[in-house]
Amino acid sequence: MRKHLYEPMPARIIEVIDETPDVKTFTLQVEDGIVDYRPGQFAEVSVFGVGEAPFGISSSPTWTKRTGYIQVTVRAVGKVTRALHNLKVGEYVGVRAPLGNGFPVEKAEGKRVIIVGGGIGLPPLRSLLNYMLDNRERFGKITVLYGARTPADMVFKRELAEWSTRPDVEYLDTVDIADEEWQRLGKRVGVVTTLFPILDEQSPIEPHNTVAFICGPPIMIHFVILELEKRNVPPENIISTLERHMKCGVGKCGHCAIGHKYVCVDGPVFSWAEMKELEWMSAEKSV
């Protein structure tokens, strides 16, 4: 137990994996270890002297149990993330984790699972998927839909290839803009929602037996929810994450508040039913 709420545990960088030109996965050995976490929970990662930022944990709890490590997958967009990208194997960061509520995996037990990821939204879903694959018998058919801007922007390429060949995973992907290789292979082009008509053909959604997990840019989440609603998936079974600047991660600093909810402690995972209620309460929208 840490003696101070804001105390980051020192964590050594064990491996840095280049995912795309601006995305890296960091494998971290956290001092004192991270006991357990749920897919969808996040970590506050410190680059001392620069700051701290929240990232969804991209490794699965099952993998962490085997290796003792955790992974975060980070796109260089701001001050902390750029500083993180400059760090090398053997250097240290600080970690406060696990934080947030995580995905309600038990809700999906025995059900058809649809995982929809967009670009850099895949990391927490990868945690979820790998957790499910390690507990395969507890879940029904698993479908992964992944969309990225370009083939170069796809993260976890080796695992994508593996998922696409596994008999117990239905995997479909698409890009907004294809490159030559993509075209040569005749792969799909279009936003991620264009994959839903394909599902209707090959494995139609039974709405009440389906739980969907979505993570990606807000605009993508919006349109994916529309597709799922069109297919009558109940709002409680549509699970997504909200992005806010979670500075303290423990419901104190106020930055991530929506309405009277704090994304860092009440989320970041919410069902569509909860998100609709949040929007109703959200001050900026509807007071």
């Binding site: 700051g51 967009v77 701001g78 806010r244 600047h245 303290c248 104190k252 009277h260 929208k285 007071v287």
Partner: protein, 361 residues
């Protein structure tokens, strides 16, 4: 004086006050008057400078800042290989003398807020060793409206020790275990309260209530905000008057938002980098407040941020969690707001549905 219990009513002669304060084994924060007349809580001031009657108007900055300071170091770090963190030493026991009822109510709220879900170490450690000796208000300022917000002028609960000023002596009300602890071993300073003093206290309370110049219909504000029955037009007109200075949040004793900043010193010749992480007050009216790394903000315009502030202070959903409306009626936001969109002005605008309404008198 024999055993002192929670609920005891005593008296303390003002002639003995300095000796009593001197006897405390703690840092003492107490109000003094600064050069230009404003009241300020100083640490261990000369005892003769301490304001000791109910006649001074409350301090410009709330003594809440003694527990939740404007900036504070969370930890120092030393980097050379594995980072080494060093935390500030545990806080010393502190007695805040002369704190007003509204600020006591604010500290009680902060104790609840900072300890729910996760315990905020710096605040809660300080609060744990702090004892409040409040002085019931008999002289509201022209900006005070605590009776509208369960913030005073006298406290019926939530105080450690409440003093009521009767000129030569104080009525001393012991309200908590902490208050009792503070007086234990110091019984010699106190006398049992004489018959009739409690009745005089109660009539003093009634007299004080008559002195308030403004009121704020908080209930109406809560109802309008919670039921979303405020027109967009009204919000826009009020938000237009906000100059985003953040003054309201900085003087508000209930505002808890903070930012976290790292500082790094130039590299030492042996390759060691040192620095510290600190937190400082932040304000939801600032454009950068909810800004995310890529420069996107969920509250990009002043209007949404303005609504955010009053949603937090007034919505029933927050009241349900917090156990009180998000205001103690200290009136400090009135003092600092250039645009006259302070709490009573906004509540009154919500009520009358017109802007530029003169505050309710």
């Amino acid at each position: 004086m024999g055993n002192i219990e929670v609920g005891s009513k005593l008296t303390l002669s003002k002639a003995k006050l300095n000796d009593f304060l001197r006897s405390l084994d703690a840092l003492l924060a107490a109000p003094i008057r600064l050069e230009h007349g404003e009241v300020h809580f100083a640490i261990n001031p000369p005892l003769e400078q301490i304001l000791r009657d109910a006649e001074y108007v409350n301090s410009t900055i709330s003594p809440v800042a003694l527990l939740f300071p404007q900036t504070e170091v969370l930890f120092n770090f030393k980097l050379n290989g594995k980072p080494q963190l060093e935390f500030p030493p545990p806080p010393q026991p502190l007695v805040i003398f002369g704190i007003r009822s509204c600020d006591v109510a604010a500290i009680r709220y902060l104790e609840m807020f900072f300890s729910r879900n996760f315990v905020d170490t710096p605040f809660c450690e300080r609060a744990k060793v702090t004892t409040l000796i409040s002085v019931a208000c008999q002289r509201p300022s022209k900006n005070c409206f605590c009776p509208c917000c369960a913030g005073g002028p006298f406290l019926e609960d939530g105080y450690d020790i409440q003093l009521v000023d009767f000129g030569e002596l104080f009525l001393v009300e012991v309200g908590s275990e902490k208050g009792k602890q503070l007086l234990s071993g110091r019984e010699g300073f106190f006398e049992p309260a004489p018959e009739g003093l409690i009745e005089r206290r109660n009539s003093l309370y009634e007299e004080t209530l008559q002195k308030f110049e403004i009121a704020s219909h908080m209930g109406t504000g809560v109802r309008k905000v919670t039921s979303r029955s405020v027109s967009e037009e009204l919000w826009k007109m009020m938000a237009a008057r906000c100059i985003e200075c953040g003054g309201c949040a900085f003087v508000c004793p209930l505002c808890t938002c903070f930012d976290v900043v790292d500082h790094k010193l130039p590299l030492h010749s042996d390759g060691t980098a040192c620095g510290w992480r600190e937190r400082c007050w932040d304000c939801c009216q600032f454009a950068g407040y909810s800004m995310e790394a890529a420069g996107v903000s969920p509250r990009p315009d002043k209007l949404s941020r303005f609504k955010r502030r009053f949603y937090h202070k007034l919505s029933y959903f927050y009241m349900e969690m917090d156990g009180r409306v998000g205001c103690v009626g200290c009136g400090r936001c009135i003092q600092v707001c250039f645009g006259v969109v302070d709490m009573p002005a906004v509540v009154n605008t919500l009520r009358e549905e017109k802007v530029f309404g003169v505050r309710l008198r």
